[in-house]
């Protein structure tokens, strides 16, 4: 049962991500990526990481990809992306090599045998409980730091994509700066 | 219920002044307005109104709906819809003298007429059509007519199955047997019968 789910998900995710990587159309790429993310949450559910699956849905698919989609509205999404692609040889050499190495690493007997569980949480409690328990004890400070980082990113995003984004104050073209300051004064 | 509608265009409603407070400009004023709006729960006033209307509609039968094809509203005597060609009351002959002014003045070019001299060397209307697919019911034809021959009548159901539908002279002409029911029109721009009433009832500030 789980195996079926895993293989179905795996094949679908791979296919969708391949579409993302090779599609010329940004919209296709975005939609297939979003769909792949949803399916990855499926993998998480299969692995018993319910909470993480839900978070994947909410954060990755619900927020991150939606933001990308929102950002894409600023660009022309329906036009095909024109790219000069580098030689296929380099790509496949590099990626093939890294794939082989990674597979070697992951399937090497050292990995997975010598690792012991350090943080296990209360046995018997369900996944969200355990995660909450560990998150707010052992990983409290990383959690807080992540929160601060998100806040900083939010402010940065607002400032970067803010109203005056079409006027560059750093590129000291005087008339532009004047315009900007005039705009400010009018307001 | 229908009776309620009879007067609806003739100005017997009771006007009511709404006390509008000036828009606050200061911060304090805005805060006060905020408090008032919040604690007087103006949003719920809106809900209350609609709910009251629903109760009225459901349990007291105070519906506004007129089931149109089944019941029709009376219309104002000055309502101007499909054209009518009038007859002379004495002779029963149509009033149109074929002068062609209506054809000329028609801004949407929907009137078309053809005349000829008859045996008495009088002008006779051979063909007179109005294309109601184009007519905008501006009323210029009725206004310009020197004989009050063409007027706007009360028939307003003009739906047809064809895009261009012409009305022939005969269709618009008062049937000879209805001659005595033919209404005379005071002419374009005449005041309505109860115009005085209207003027008095309208507040100056309106």
């Amino acid at each position: 049962m789980e195996a079926i789910a895993f293989y179905v998900f795996a094949v679908l995710i791979t296919a969708l991500f391949l579409v993302t990587v090779f599609s010329k159309n940004a919209l296709y790429a975005m939609s297939s990526l979003a769909a792949g993310m949803v399916l990855i949450s499926g993998i998480f559910f299969v692995l018993g990481a319910d909470f993480l699956g839900a978070v994947q849905l909410v954060v990755y698919s619900g927020a991150v990809m939606a933001l990308y989609a929102f950002g894409m509205m600023f660009f022309d999404a329906t036009k095909d992306v024109k790219e000069k692609n580098p030689s296929a040889k380099t790509i496949f050499l590099l990626s093939g090599a890294s794939a082989v190495i990674l597979v070697v690493i992951f399937s090497a007997p050292q990995i997975g045998r010598n690792i012991k569980a350090l943080v296990t949480g209360t046995p018997g409690a369900d996944n969200p409980h355990v995660i909450g328990e560990v998150l707010f004890t052992k990983y409290l400070i990383p959690f807080e730091v992540a929160a601060v980082m998100l806040l900083v990113a939010m402010i940065a995003g607002i400032i970067l994509a803010g109203k005056k984004m079409d006027v560059s104050l750093s590129e000291s073209e005087d008339d532009l700066v004047d315009e900007a300051s005039e705009l400010k004064e009018q307001k | 219920m229908i009776e309620n509608f009879k007067d609806r265009n003739v100005g017997v409603q009771h006007y009511r002044f709404l006390k509008l407070e000036p828009t606050p400009t200061t911060k304090m004023g805005k805060f006060k307005r905020f408090l008032r709006r919040t604690f007087k729960l103006e949003l719920f006033v809106g809900l209350k109104v609609t709910f009251r209307e629903m109760i009225k509609a459901l349990f007291f039968g105070e519906m506004h709906t007129v089931k149109y094809p089944l019941e029709k509203l009376p219309i104002s005597p000055r309502f101007r819809a499909i054209h009518q060609m009038l007859r002379l009351l004495e002779s029963g002959h149509y009033r149109c003298i074929g002068c062609g002014l209506c054809e000329k003045i028609c801004i949407s070019d929907c009137i078309r007429m053809d005349t000829r001299y008859d045996e008495n060397q009088r002008k006779e209307v051979v063909e007179y059509t109005i294309n109601f697919g184009r007519c905008i019911f501006c009323g210029y034809c009725a206004e310009v007519c020197p004989e009050l021959a063409i007027v706007h009548g009360q028939r307003y159901e003009v739906a047809t199955e064809q895009r261009a539908s012409y009305a022939l002279f005969e269709d618009m002409l008062t049937p000879i047997d209805q001659l005595k029911n033919q209404k005379e029109y005071p002419g374009f721009g005449a005041p309505s019968p109860n115009a005085d009433e209207n003027i008095k009832k309208t507040p100056l500030a309106y």
């Binding site: 159309n25 919209l27 979003a34 978070v55 849905l57 698919s61 | 809106g46 609609t50 509609a57």
Partner: protein, 329 residues
């Protein structure tokens, strides 16, 4: 195991059938109630009291020409409405609709899948529902569609925050994300309803629920006066119908969520048995949505954002803080 799968499939089909029928029926109810509130009659001609209007509408939708604009991105254009409808129904999967009952000697739990992260799942799925309008708007090569989908993205993303935060306070009280736990927490009479201890969260949830289901006063995504029909501008026939069904399903889901989380769920209310009670509650909430639509004008987009980020979210955060402090003490 097999029984479980079969049972789940039966439940899923039942939910799909009933809710989509209800969604259709919802349109009838909406038209009727809006009519009454404006002292009109609403649909009357088709069938007794116009009841068969749904069937007539359905036939119309099914037989209408399904056209795809030339510049549109065909696949995504076709997929988008399915996403809306599908996510709406998937969200319902984790919602317990009624109390347990026994039929043919089998105990039936009227929930498709009792996840231990039920609430989170429902929110996640409703969040995913955003992709329907979003992709639809972007795929259809129409500026109104694009504006509509941009508004979708803003509105859904923003109000999802408020939804999540407003539900967090009850979650903290109950200590579980399973909706059945919520229901059981509120067993034992009206006094135990969470709405009494979390009125602010309830109001916030209602407001953001309105926004997430795209109801007046937050119906900016497809506001005819401004942007034709928003993301659905180029849609016709059954594709448009799917948007519609998705939307109404979402309304029902929000109704169920609000009743389960705040209004006592399917616990019996005095003499009223639980199943009837929750139907009453959901009906009332549904009616409330229509009522509000009849009464209030809609807001401007900037007011919408202002309301979300500067009013609702701070209130939600403060509410969580206060809840946390009270729980700690």
């Amino acid at each position: 195991m097999d029984g479980y799968i079969i049972g789940t499939i039966i439940k899923a089909i039942l939910v799909l059938a009933i809710i989509s029928a209800l969604a259709g029926f919802g349109t009838y109810i909406e038209r009727k109630i809006l009519a009454f509130m404006q002292r009109r009659l609403g649909p009357t001609h088709v069938g007794p009291y116009g009841l068969l209007q749904i069937a007539a509408d359905g036939i119309k939708l099914f037989t209408k020409e399904d056209f795809i604009p030339q510049g549109a991105n065909r696949i995504i254009f076709m997929v988008a409405p399915i996403i809306t409808a599908a996510t709406a129904f998937i969200a319902l999967a984790a919602v317990p609709l009624f109390p347990e009952f026994e039929i043919f000697g089998i105990k039936v739990q009227p929930i498709v899948s009792d996840l231990n992260i039920g609430l989170l799942f429902v929110i996640a799925m409703m969040g995913l529902g955003l992709y329907g309008p979003l992709l639809a708007g972007m795929a259809q090569d129409n500026k109104w569609g694009l504006i509509g989908s941009a508004r979708t993205a803003i509105q859904f993303l923003s109000y999802e925050v408020v939804t999540g935060l407003s539900l967090l306070a009850p979650v903290m009280m109950v200590g579980s994300l399973s909706l059945i736990d919520f229901n059981n927490y509120q067993a034992g009479g009206i006094g135990n309803w969470i709405v009494w201890s979390q009125p602010v969260a309830f109001i916030l949830f209602l407001i953001s629920g309105f926004a997430e289901t795209n109801r007046t006063p937050f119906d900016l995504l497809e506001h005819e006066a401004e942007i034709i029909s928003g993301y659905a501008t180029e849609y016709s026939g059954m594709r448009w119908g799917m948007f519609f069904i998705g939307e109404y399903t979402n309304m029902i889901t929000i109704g169920f969520l609000a009743s389960l989380v705040f209004l006592g769920g399917f616990n019996p209310m005095g003499f009223i048995p639980g199943g009837i009670a929750i139907i009453l509650k959901v009906s009332f909430l549904f009616f409330l949505m229509l009522w509000v639509r009849a009464s209030w004008p809609h807001v401007r987009p900037d007011q919408l954002m202002w309301l979300c980020w500067k009013v609702l979210m701070p209130i939600a955060v403060i509410n969580i803080l206060i809840t946390g402090i009270v729980l700690m003490v």
